[in-house]
Symmetry: C2
Subunit: 166 residues, 2 copies
């Protein structure tokens, strides 16, 4: 096999995984989906009885180290908090247990006091459902997030309190 056949075959093989899964579009404010969010460590969990969801709150390394050291008011520059939100389901083997159903959305808060001064120094992003459709029609969607988080202004706009992990 000559070189001019081997090189294209090699390029095809290398690029196949990228083609197999369509890239996720960024949020309307330009924030991209953090590529490795599935590998982030746990900061807390929660259940919301007002919209019947279970959540896990994770963070990138900067956020997790800050959470464990108690440096969360303010959180450090570069910290990103992530959240996966699931509908409620029942464990068929243990009826009183509430477990994750389908994904409602995944969402993130990224600390950058230069870029996101207008929304409390946090850049917001959210992707909907299993297909990860970007949330929001335009960059203005972040005002909706910020509006709700204003209640937590005294905690640097973050509701999450890092859960103890002894």
């Amino acid at each position: 096999m000559s070189f001019r056949f081997v090189l294209p075959a090699l390029l095809l093989a290398v690029s196949l995984p990228g083609h197999a899964q369509a890239p996720v579009p960024p949020a309307p404010n330009g924030i991209p989906l953090p590529a490795d969010y599935r590998n982030w460590r746990v900061i807390a969990v929660s259940q919301r009885t007002d919209n019947n969801t279970l959540r896990v709150i994770t963070g990138n390394d900067i956020a997790v180290e800050a959470a464990r050291a108690g440096r969360t008011n303010p959180w450090p520059e570069g910290a990103v908090l992530g959240k996966v939100v699931w509908k409620l389901d029942k464990d068929p083997l243990w009826q009183p247990a509430i477990v994750p159903g389908e994904v409602v959305h995944i969402e993130f808060m990224a600390r950058d006091s230069k870029k996101y001064a207008a929304t409390g120094n946090w850049g917001y992003s959210r992707w909907l459902g299993a297909s990860l459709k970007p949330h929001g029609k335009d960059a203005g969607f972040a005002q909706e997030c910020f509006g709700c988080h204003t209640v937590a202004k005294g905690k640097d706009y973050v509701f999450t309190r890092p859960a103890p992990m002894p």
Copy 2:
């Protein structure tokens, strides 16, 4: 300063972190606390309404890779599932949100079909509260865990269903 003074000082400095925190005793069946469990990745979360607790279920690398690939019946040898169990608390800034309170216990299931054939091929361990006191008076405590997990025999004794993370 002569060498005979420098060496002991160096050894003291290196060993100080070990002295600062008392080592956690192993479970009565000899299973040690996984040193890095706080860094494990998320497999699922749950809430139990029968004992009012919130939980995060994590795993070592073998367990997380198996969960993501759907290889969970049986789980592979070497997989370890971890769980942190918290009392329920309310978010003072968002009353309908249930968030982690104090730690009830942390617990683990370790897959080893040679060592733990008598308890469904899983080795159980649990440490109580913030002080991580080993649970159980003797190695027989695992029969209590196994007894309850027998309900999940058709799922390789594991209640947890890995939660979708798109």
